[in-house]
């Protein structure tokens, strides 16, 4: 009896110890990441001091000042202009790419038929899409939407096709055997297993599509982050170019770390058991 108690006590102690160590690790990791950013800033600061000219590389405080000016100005208008277009583009990519992927996954013939177009579409340099969107729509809201849609679509299609091929045949057979209707099977078996693949397609093309979206704004837009970068480039305003680029990068990294990872976890929740194995 005492033995058991002692054991459980020491187990508790072990657990506490493990938790403490884990917390220590986490603290040390945060510290290292912080150090990394300080290192980044230091290198930047030294480089700007060595180059000694604002037109070449402005110092961090100068850029921070510029960022403040941007926030006092119309940052949110420009920012939302880009976000809305890119989201609309992804929406279009999912709406068109999903049925194409279904077709590719369900039928061997269409899989072969669409294979080459999808592969080539995925290898086309972003410049092509950006210029094409400009030619089709001129300076307009729809240019970046088209470019993002075109660039993300092949990723969505390829992943959905993969997902459809991977749907567990036995689950469908069993559902049919127990008298589930076609629409029930679709709703409760096919959709949940394909949904993560749609998301995977969006996620894989996420950073690429954003880049092409801003590039399209460089060509044909009067608003948005890409437009601002180009405007300041033409004015030869280096601090403002760097400030807008940093805002873009910060937004992308935050989105990646806090939004995408969370959605991913939620969508793949039903596969928890798989991960635990």
């Amino acid at each position: 009896m005492t033995n058991i108690v002692a054991e459980s006590v020491s187990e508790g102690q072990n657990q506490a110890h493990a938790l403490r160590t884990a917390a220590g690790f986490r603290r040390r990791r945060y510290l290292a990441v912080l150090l990394g950013w300080l290192f980044f800033l230091a290198v930047w600061w030294i480089l700007s001091a060595v180059l000694g000219s604002e037109a070449r590389l402005p110092s961090p405080p100068r850029v921070v000042q510029e960022i403040r000016t941007i926030f006092e100005g119309d940052f949110w208008t420009q920012f939302w202009a880009s976000v809305i277009r890119v989201l609309a583009g992804f929406f279009a990519a999912v709406v068109i790419g999903t049925p194409v992927g279904f077709l590719m996954g369900r039928s061997k013939y269409w899989g072969n038929f669409l294979q080459a177009p999808v592969v080539v579409a995925g290898a086309i340099p972003g410049l092509t899409y950006a210029v094409m969107a400009f030619v089709v729509f001129g300076i307009s809201f729809w240019g970046p939407v088209l470019a993002v849609g075109l660039i993300a679509m092949p990723y969505v299609a390829i992943n959905v096709a993969e997902g459809v091929r991977g749907v567990d045949r036995r689950l469908i057979d069993m559902s049919t055997a127990y008298g589930r209707t076609e629409s029930q099977v679709f709703r409760h078996v096919v959709v949940p297993s394909v949904l993560p693949f749609i998301f995977a397609g969006v996620r894989l093309s996420f950073s690429l599509a954003w880049k092409v979206g801003t590039l399209t704004e460089v060509f044909g837009s009067s608003k948005g982050i890409g437009f601002q970068i180009r405007r300041n480039y033409q004015l030869f305003n280096m601090p403002a170019v760097i400030a807008w680029v940093l805002l873009f990068v910060a937004f992308m990294l935050l989105l990646e770390r806090f939004v995408l990872v969370r959605i991913e976890r939620r969508l793949f929740r039903w596969r928890q058991w798989e991960r635990n194995q």
Binding site: A32, G36, V119, Y155, L215
Partner: protein, 290 residues
Amino acid sequence: MTSAPVTLQESPPSPGPIRQWLISPIGAQLTAIVVFVGLWQLLTLIAERVPGPAEVANFLYVEITGGSHGGIVTGEFWEHFAITLRRFSAGLFIGFTAGLLIGVVIGSYGMARALLNDTVLVLLTMPAFVWAFLTTMWFGISWRAPVLTVAFVAFPFVAINVAQGVRAITPDLRNMSAAFEVSRWKQFRHLILPAVAGYIFAGLRFAIIVGWNAILLSEWFSGQAGVGFRTRYWFDANRYRGFVGWVIVFIFFIVVLDRVVLNRLQTRAFRWRDPIEVEVELAQQEQVGV
């Protein structure tokens, strides 16, 4: 692309086999090409400004053979292509070498990883056109801008892949090498390098794809020669057949390079490994890399 109908005639005349051939993988792919060219032709009927396939093919013929486009404008092809290729390989070499070195350092030392990982991520997030702008502001219109644009864009892709590869090496082997006092160079040559070869290759492949886009952008914005410059030349001249012709050329180049050359090389280089494992790895890269 235009050779598709010829191949169609080569198939046996009896109706059964034709149908069978049409639904075979190659038949399906060729049908896709024919349908694509047909749709393109149809589009020119609806939108007058869109140049048709024949028009573009004719343009490319004149441009490549150096004939006259009408008036004093003559075709220029190989000189632009050679300039771009030279800059592309120079930039790739710089970016790849730097990425390899930093990648090995990040993968080997925890401290280096903590210090550099986020910096590399920031570089990875920067769009290529930003580098094209920055290098132009730094160096003006010169060969340095496109070369460094490619280098900056390629670098983080190589570094991240190599770091991942180095981290995947089992610590056992490294500990043993350390215990037997194998020199750092020998460890690098015989332990690290073979283990990360696959990751290096993957990094190189990404670098080539993103670098190609980067050099086109850089030449478009600030070139006086090169593929990107020539594409813009025709675009600015409002001659869309020239623009579409060059777009087809640079897409064709990257698809052939990636699909035919790199894909084959990769499969060949790793034939000593389990083929299924390689297959899976290639498929995964395709997902991220296309």
